[in-house]
């Protein structure tokens, strides 16, 4: 049977993380499952977790009056969801809703922040990985703004 450390190690987001760091972060992790339509978090709520998606797909959306819930992005297996737990005021900026049955590893944000405070190497490694995701998503958002399929 796979341990939590094994599950974390095989997820692309934490691939190559040092074994001692895997041991530390595994202590802040738990397996979670969401049914289709269930919310992982809601806009404005306290951002106390983040998720490594193992199976399934999650829609990040926001509610616009008279237009309803608008999906900004979908996040699927192998991807990471949530970085608001890293920065004050630790509030979610969007809703996250499972589009199908979704299995994930949830990390306790407060627990991880404390671990990073104690071990700056771990903190740097986490920030480096999240920064890379942020850059990718910023680029993707810029492309969305460019409306790249408008002309070909």
């Amino acid at each position: 049977m796979q341990t939590m450390k094994d599950l974390i190690a095989e997820h692309p987001f934490f691939r190559g993380l040092a074994p001692e760091h895997l041991d530390v972060i595994a202590g802040c992790a738990q397996n979670v499952r969401f049914q289709a339509g269930e919310f992982l978090f809601r806009e404005g709520d306290e951002a106390d977790r983040f998720f490594l998606i193992r199976h399934g797909r999650v829609a990040l959306s926001t509610y616009i009056p008279e237009r309803g819930a608008i999906t900004i992005q979908t996040i699927g297996a192998g991807e990471v969801l949530g970085w608001s737990w890293l920065f004050p005021p630790y509030r979610w900026h969007f809703d996250a809703r499972a589009l199908e049955v979704t299995r994930a590893i949830a990390f306790d944000g407060k627990c991880l922040r404390d671990k990073c405070q104690e071990d700056p190497k771990l903190g740097y490694e986490l920030m480096r990985r999240f920064a890379s995701i942020m850059v990718d998503r910023l680029q993707a958002t810029r492309l969305q703004l460019l409306d790249v399929y408008g002309r070909s």
Binding site: R57, G78, L143, Q144, G150, S152
Partner: protein, 310 residues
Amino acid sequence: MDTGEFNTGQLNTGQLNTGQLSTGQLNTMSAEPIQAVDPMAPRWHRILQRRRENHDTFTLELTPVDQGAAMTFAPGQFNMLYVFGVGEIPISISGDPGQPERLIHTTRAVGTVTRAMSRLGKGDVLGVRGPFGSAWPLAQAEGRDVVIVTGGIGLAPLRPAIYQLLAQREKYARIVILYGARTQEDMVFRRELERWSARLDVEVFATVDRATSGWRGNVGVVTTLIPHAPFDPDDTIALVCGPEVMMRYTVAALEKRGLTHEQIYLSMERNMKCAVGFCGHCQFGPKFICKDGPVFRFDQVRAIFGKWEV
């Protein structure tokens, strides 16, 4: 002949360079380009069917008025379509190379000629010159994974390649289609995408920039599908077609997955006029898109790709 050239018989002045194709590779295809008398003389074709793909995109199925031999072509090639009294434009062939009797083109109504073309209907006549240009490297892709990355109407020049890949499915490892569109209403060939998606031997991932009601698929640009798409970067050929800005970011994402420039093929688009390399309108650095392209291996165009003025 292994120089990458083949004689279409269409040119009195020499050979039409197909870029990636050699005679041996052509022999592996289901169809070979036909003999034509003069590449500058249009052949009249009648519209058999006109189909609307979305709000501004339409497909025309043509048949020769002279009832002569059907035009055979290789996936990726294009024709010059001439609307009488309006003008002529290059349009990729979007039909099945295995069914050359159904000469099919798909285009958007965005300019003077295409808008005039969009007003034509069954029975109307067009002039057609071609086929011209290079083809997708399907022979080189044999035995390997093939990932197709496309956006918007960029799927049209790739559809013949998909038909051929599926017709010879046993020759390829994984086939992965990544398709992006502005919204689900902007998608082209939606029914075919669904049909391919239902097959067990093809993986299709579609995404939209903006989710409208009823869309339950992915949201985000097509490049976001690349990091987790199921293909082996060490043994993959990527075929990419779409607006140039999309292709720039697609190449970057494919590089990040580990593909080399020699594994990536793009279909370029420029203002093609003569289609045989005489007029220079489509010059792209040292190359002419019409006769050296439109399909290029990325390393052949990397130095000038994305430049403002070439």
